[in-house]
């Protein structure tokens, strides 16, 4: 492995850039939701409170780590160390800066698989404790994963079929031209985009799908017994998940328009991707702010009765549109 690749993995667009992005997105979320609720949000640390998430992270690192004896602490530590790295790893395949560090045909499936594993790890976090709240939260989380994951995978295949590739980099390159060349594709594309956003909302556990850590019912769900450093890493995990969700959605459904051929163009395309990610997050947070929490049964109903059939419907619609010209000619 040459030195250039190493710098890419560790600094830009790899580890450090992603963590900075995670912290920035956390601030973006707090500030945006605060403004939606006509509050101020963070104001004191740094310019308009931009360093507040970092300050919170550091504060949690220095706090006493209260180890609950009824929990399996070793497993918890392992989970919380592995989980954030999974997202960083899967983000190597996503064109965060317009190009990807690693790429091969079929990496879309790998990324989807890794993100599912990461969600399952959160379930282990709750299940390691013997508290009613963490256990109920973990059980709800598992049900939730069962709900949204299939829909998410089916919907991620829609842009893959449009671009006729299973490589995220290729999809993001070809998706805009593929959709423009056949405007009929816009119907399943837009349809899939909306449904995919809902599935990602459930993945992020934001309202209306914040069921696993519903405060008024389960205190903090599966997070209840975690404190100190572990909580810091769990927060980082959630923030990285936000980065992953936004960039993954943006690159699948919006694509990269500016080709990152030279150094200046890399910056231009990374700004482009960044803005698209912000747009995706804006939509997600609007849904979050505007809705109440639903019950777990409602979630399963919504996903199994409507969203999963609809996602397969959009997939088959795509087949028809794709195949129709060939049949007619």
């Amino acid at each position: 492995m040459d030195l250039f690749k190493l710098v890419e993995v560790v600094v830009f667009p790899g580890l450090m850039y992603l963590v900075v992005l995670a912290i920035f997105f956390e601030w973006y979320k707090r500030k945006l939701v605060a403004r939606m609720q006509s509050r101020l949000g963070p104001t004191y640390t740094g310019f308009r409170g931009i360093l507040q998430p970092l300050a919170d992270f550091l504060k949690l690192l220095f706090k006493e780590d209260i180890e609950v004896t009824t929990g399996d602490q070793k497993m918890l530590t392992l989970v919380l160390l592995v989980a954030p790295t999974l997202f960083i790893f899967s983000l190597f395949f996503v064109p965060v800066t317009g190009y990807t560090i690693f790429s091969f045909e079929g990496d879309l499936l790998l990324v989807l698989f890794i993100s599912s594993i990461a969600s399952l790890l959160l379930y282990l976090v709750g299940w390691t404790f013997r508290s009613s709240f963490t256990k109920a939260g973990a059980a709800r989380l598992l049900l939730q994963i069962v709900g949204f994951d299939i829909a998410a995978i089916a919907l991620a295949l829609v842009p893959a079929f449009e671009a006729e590739s299973l490589c995220i980099a290729t999809i993001s390159e070809k998706i805009s031209s593929a959709v423009i060349s056949n405007p009929l594709l816009l119907i399943p594309h837009g349809f899939a985009f909306i449904l995919f956003l809902l599935a990602q909302q459930a993945d992020l556990e934001e309202d209306p799908f914040d069921i696993p850590h519903a405060e008024t019912e389960l205190v903090a769900g599966y997070i209840t017994e975690i404190s100190g450093r572990k909580l810091a890493f769990l927060d980082l995990f959630k923030d990285l998940q936000m980065v992953y969700v936004s960039f993954f959605t943006a690159s699948l459904f919006f694509g990269v328009i500016v080709k990152p051929l030279s150094a200046v163009l890399v910056i231009a395309s990374s700004v482009e991707m960044f803005l698209k990610a912000l747009l995706v997050l804006f939509i997600l947070f609007t849904i979050e702010a505007a809705s109440t929490r639903i019950r777990i049964y409602n979630l399963l109903d919504a996903f199994w009765k409507y969203i999963i059939p609809l996602s397969f419907f959009s997939l088959s619609l795509l087949f028809i549109i794709k195949a129709l010209p060939g049949v007619l000619l």
Binding site: V33, M36, Q37, S38, R39, T70, R130, S131, S132, A136, D207, P208, D210, I211, A214, E215, T216, E217, L218, V219, A289, A290, S291, T292, R293, I294, R295, I296, Y297, N298
Partner: protein
């Protein structure tokens, strides 16, 4: 093999006057039994009132509940006036109505916000409390404090309203009415809010009457009982208003009663300000009152409130009995939990405007034998898989 988890909701909440503990027996997510324990902040106010004089007791009763403090002082001073046969000036009666209704608006908007927050709807909570702030400002302007108003006194009220205040109040009321109409539309039509609230905790009309529910809880169950209309006090016999009732009998209906009552209260205040009579605002009252008994009931924001005063011709009451509305409503609402899920507990509990916090650990109770077991993680897992 059926196991129920004991899930404890409550008991402590330092901010409110009547915290209660709900001990739910939960089978999976379904509630199969409920047990209520109240009195966690029994402060002995009834006993304490016997050792304070009548004036001091105004401020004591005010502190029974911070949210509906005007209702408490109003009820207390009316009971004392009833006992001593004191006739209150007309203007004071109207001023009492105005502040009482302002208090009602503030309380209703507060609980609507809390309900939204309990359902994870922080935005609506922030909006409702933002709009409530305008009412708090008028209360501060009229009475001198945002919350504990200290407005009513035996023989009248302590402060008058001048014209600038009146104009300011009317302007704010217009704004609050606009905001409340917006919130009414949102709460009426929002699909997710309806999904959480409709058909939750159904309290049938017959049950509501038999279990003596009061206030919005009763009126949400279509019971025609509003003290303001049926046993008018202060100036309510001269002010026209509607008794809000809903036929749905569920949590949603109880919350909508509050929204509509807010709008009704705004109209009452407007009418009272328009027809405010002139004259004195209070009469002088001697410190030593004649022996007798006085009873007053008031429609507090949460429901019917009663103060019953006994005196033996002293500067102090011989006995003061207070019955707060939540006391009546807990009994009415408790059986309606059965059959719902844990996720619905906040939605039902908040609809009677109570106070609770939820923290505790679990014990396992076998439903059939009621035996409490302490189990290890492995055993629980084994039990879980064997189901």
């Amino acid at each position: 093999m059926s196991y129920a988890v004991d899930l404890l909701f409550g008991p402590q909440h330092p901010a409110l006057h009547e915290p209660e503990r709900f001990r739910f027996k939960v089978d999976g997510e379904i509630i199969v039994d409920v047990d209520v324990k109240i009195g966690f902040i029994h402060r002995g106010i009834e006993k304490l009132a016997e050792s304070k004089n009548f004036i001091q007791n105004i401020y004591l009763t005010e502190r029974i509940c911070g949210i509906c403090n005007v209702a408490h002082t109003l009820c207390y001073v009316q009971a004392v006036e009833d006992m001593a046969g004191i006739e209150v000036p007309e203007r004071a009666k109207y001023l009492r109505v105005i502040v009482h209704e302002l208090n009602r608006i503030h309380s209703h908007l507060l609980i609507l916000g809390v309900a939204a927050e309990l359902l994870g709807w922080e935005t609506e909570f922030m909006y409702l409390w933002r709009d409530r702030e305008a009412i708090m400002d008028i209360i501060e302007d009229v009475t001198g404090n945002r919350v504990t108003s200290a407005f009513n006194t035996i023989g009248g009220v302590r402060r008058d309203i001048n014209n600038t205040q009146k104009e300011r109040m009317l302007k704010v009321l217009d704004k609050v009415e606009k905001d409340t109409r917006f919130h009414k539309k949102v709460l009426e039509e929002d699909p997710l809010y309806r999904e959480r609230m409709v058909n939750m905790g159904v309290l049938k009309t017959r049950d509501a009457i038999e279990r003596c529910a009061v206030g919005p809880t009763a009126r949400g169950s279509n019971v025609d009982y509003d003290v303001r209309a049926h046993d008018p006090y202060a100036a309510y016999d001269e002010i026209p208003f509607n008794v809000i009732r809903y036929k749905e009998c569920d949590s949603w209906a109880r919350m909508m009663v509050r929204v509509d009552e807010t709008l009704e209260s705004i109209n009452i205040i407007r009418y009272a300000l328009k027809h405010l009579p002139g004259g004195e605002i209070r009469v002088k009252v001697p410190p030593r009152l004649p022996a007798g008994e006085g009873l007053s009931r008031v429609e507090a924001p949460r429901g019917e409130l009663i103060h019953h005063v006994f005196c033996k011709g002293d500067v102090k009451p011989y006995r003061l009995k207070v019955r707060t509305p939540t006391f009546a409503n807990i009994l009415a609402i408790a059986p309606t939990f059965i059959g719902h899920t844990i996720a619905d507990v906040p939605a039902i509990l908040v609809s009677i405007d109570p106070c609770f916090s939820c923290t505790d650990r679990l014990t396992f109770v076998d439903v059939s034998s009621g035996k409490v077991m302490k189990l290890s993680l492995g055993e629980i897992k084994r039990m879980y898989w064997s189901r």
